[in-house]
Symmetry: C2
Subunit: 451 residues, 2 copies
């Protein structure tokens, strides 16, 4: 019986300084792309073998795109033309910044420079019950699970005798009114109008309810008030039921109770309400604040000049961003690129360049032909032009020529036919409905050791 | 807690004769397409919500296509323009041909005409050990599991200290030299040459072995000897190790023992060696022969003139085909279409038309620019022209305009770049290697009740 003890990281010995990067997200891949193999040996760990383009993950969940369209294998991205680059599919269990080692389930390696680029994970704010019964949307398996669940809910609503249970299967609750929540709500509203009635002629879709629960006083709180207003108005028109200034207090798999006292019977509670840093063990507590790693303007972790954190996991407080940079792709991309330069500066004993965030604006899609955009210079767009901008930006930033083509052709197809083609339930086991099923599923996925 | 007792099939009452079809494969969908909703109420059961184009399943397993490209949701295929058509995602547990009922996990319905179009399932010939440790390739989840396993095998071979275990991870054994086995072997050989060396620069791919084990005295036994020869020669040139006239006696997850005495250490044994009819409970034993349902020339099951079996599950013995028709798509398609006509004849008390199989030939792809084709009139093609024929036929028969586009553009991309883009490991849990892992996985998937 072969187990992990037979595996070893198998990283070649080198005379060059070794840069170990944890995480193949936006920060990690942009760093690798600019780091020359002549100067460094570069090692990347990730628990997945692909880079995911998370801004489009909601499309996988709502059957608009297949998972492969938004994921690029890291080995394909950094093929053999990247000299002395070593990817290892291995989960990091901890670091030792004094001994300068990184430990994974497969083995331990030393580093000269360590870059923590682990991003975020779903934050349930300690609510174990919600964690158990809700659907997070953070990774590709989450999206596949949610898509299968949504489609099965309609199949089951179509076969139910009890009208109360049917209503409960047709109530969809999205917790969180940020970009993910808004994009999901918009996509579900479009499915309700254009796709589902012809798929399920026996179901009355006027009874399908889409709730969006947001704790702040407006949707899209990170965006400009104008954009929030436009979005609110549009979603309202599309029949999304928006609840502001309230939170979900409890959810037992069947009944969601809001802080406001409202009770919603639902089989589907989608948790898009928050993220927390995906911390690695081993840093002293003074390096961590609210789940993020405190760094200086060079992304250096306090007390360990050879340890860096970039992207969402890094908390760099500046005058302009006293709470750190927004948790979107751009700061990670820019920090990854700058760090490549700074690592070369370190090698040559040159002074480091401080990070300066170039805000390129933020965008959210809210429906067919509808998006909102906050651009630099206090410019706010909405409607068709913002939508085209959104498409253009997202296709441009998609990794890999093939994926750009796939996503573009999917969108064109969808635009002209009002159809999407990926409404297949690909998980092998079809669930029963209700709490018991969630518990069973949870149990099956527990206790499996992950590489 | 909501369970199956809350569900019911919820099929509307009707004055028209009700046709119940079990299975949305080639036979089932072609029957539905030709059955007018004016004459019949049509009910289809399937345990999946999609029709799969199985001739391309091996491409999903070898990261050439995403699952969505070969699957079309049945509800999309039979949207609301099909009057009085009712799809139900429900697993059939049995039929009662005397009481004229079909029972599913969700509930029971009556029928006037019943069509069994359940196709086949993997046949392990009673070998429980092989069933436990091998990888079948029959359904989309099988292909995803196999793809993930193949990719993880390379990841792990790249991280192994023990050279014997590494070799074992790089030995791939395909059991069965039929079209699936040949197409898999060809695809793996192409990956070894064009894709894997740049993905895994640290691995020595001259050590990767692809074995193909066939019990008969030639590969592709259902095809013409000329085609078998050409295929054998081509695979041989590509470095596939072919063993004829032998079987796999045992496989414990690590060691495969052949009837010939040969022993192969391998972590990957792909089972493409046989299928058996996916029978439903309830037919008397005299209606069943070698796992298939005996039917007359009208596809009627003996003793039950209102029960039909079509496609792979049906065994129609004719002078030309004394052992039944070949287990490929064409007989199923043609029987489905004919049965639509015959059901209308029955309704009008007209005589039924007997089935006559129009053999359109058979095709197998064996590599880039390489295929073999047996065409009617004893014409045998091979090489580039057969390959183009294969592409054309497969794209033509693919269900759905979107899928045709997706597959065509994938192929064009692959043809020009030698690349495929879907090498992502999308299953949530990354396995350990070896027997223990297979056992753990098996256990996790057991005991989950399926709808």
């Amino acid at each position: 019986m072969y187990e992990f003890d037979k595996l070893s990281l198998n990283i070649p010995a080198t005379t060059k300084p070794r840069v170990v990067i944890i995480g193949g997200g936006f920060g990690g891949i942009n760093l690798v792309k600019k780091l020359s193999g002549k100067d460094f040996q570069v090692v990347m760990f990730d628990k997945q073998n692909y880079h995911g383009f998370w801004p489009l993950l909601y499309q996988v969940a709502t059957a608009g795109l297949e998972p492969e369209a938004i994921a690029e294998p890291l080995r394909k991205m950094f093929g053999d033309e990247y000299e002395d680059f070593h990817f290892r599919l291995a989960r990091v269990t901890g670091i030792d910044p004094v001994a300068k080692t990184v430990t994974t389930l497969v083995g331990t390696t030393t580093y000269d420079y360590l870059v923590i680029a682990t991003g975020t994970k779903t934050n349930f704010f300690g609510n174990k019950e919600i964690e158990k019964y809700s659907f997070p949307l953070k990774q590709i398996p989450d999206a596949i699970r949610l898509r299968s669940h949504l489609l099965q809910s309609f199949e089951q609503a179509n076969m139910i005798t009890d009208p109360e249970v049917r209503q409960s299967l047709l109530n969809f609750v999205i917790v969180g009114g940020g970009p993910t929540g808004v994009e999901l709500a918009g996509a579900l509203a479009e499915m309700r109008k254009h796709v589902l009635p012809s798929d399920y002629p026996g179901l009355d879709f006027s009874k399908m309810n889409i709730y969006m629960i947001e704790g702040m006083d407006r949707v899209l709180p990170p965006m400009a008030p104008e954009s929030s207003q436009k979005t609110h108005k549009y979603l309202d028109k599309k029949g999304v039921i928006i609840r502001l200034n309230t939170l979900v207090d409890s959810y037992d798999g069947e009944v969601a109770t809001l802080k406001s006292g409202e009770i919603i019977h639902t089989h589907t509670l989608i948790w898009a309400a928050g993220v927390a840093g995906a911390l690695v063990d081993g840093l002293p507590p003074e390096s961590v604040e609210r789940g993020r790693i405190l760094v200086n303007e060079f992304n250096q972790v306090k007390g360990f000049p050879e340890v860096f954190a970039i992207g969402d996991i890094a908390l760099m407080k500046t005058d302009e961003y006293p709470k750190g940079h927004p948790g979107v792709a751009q700061p990670a991309i820019q920090q990854g690129k700058l760090l490549a330069d700074n690592l070369k500066h370190l090698l040559r004993n040159e002074p480091l360049e401080p990070f300066k965030y170039h805000d390129k604006g933020s965008l959210a899609i809210i429906g067919r032909n509808q998006a909102v955009a906050d651009l630099p210079g206090n410019v706010h767009l909405s409607g068709f032009f913002a939508w085209v901008t959104w498409l253009f930006v997202h296709i441009m930033y998609l990794i890999g020529f093939r994926n750009k083509l796939v996503v573009l052709s999917n969108w064109m197809y969808k635009f002209f036919t009002y159809e999407s083609g990926t409404r297949i339930i690909i998980r092998p086991v079809i669930r029963k409905i209700g709490k018991a099923a969630r518990e069973q599923e949870q149990k099956a996925s527990e206790g499996k050791e992950k590489l």
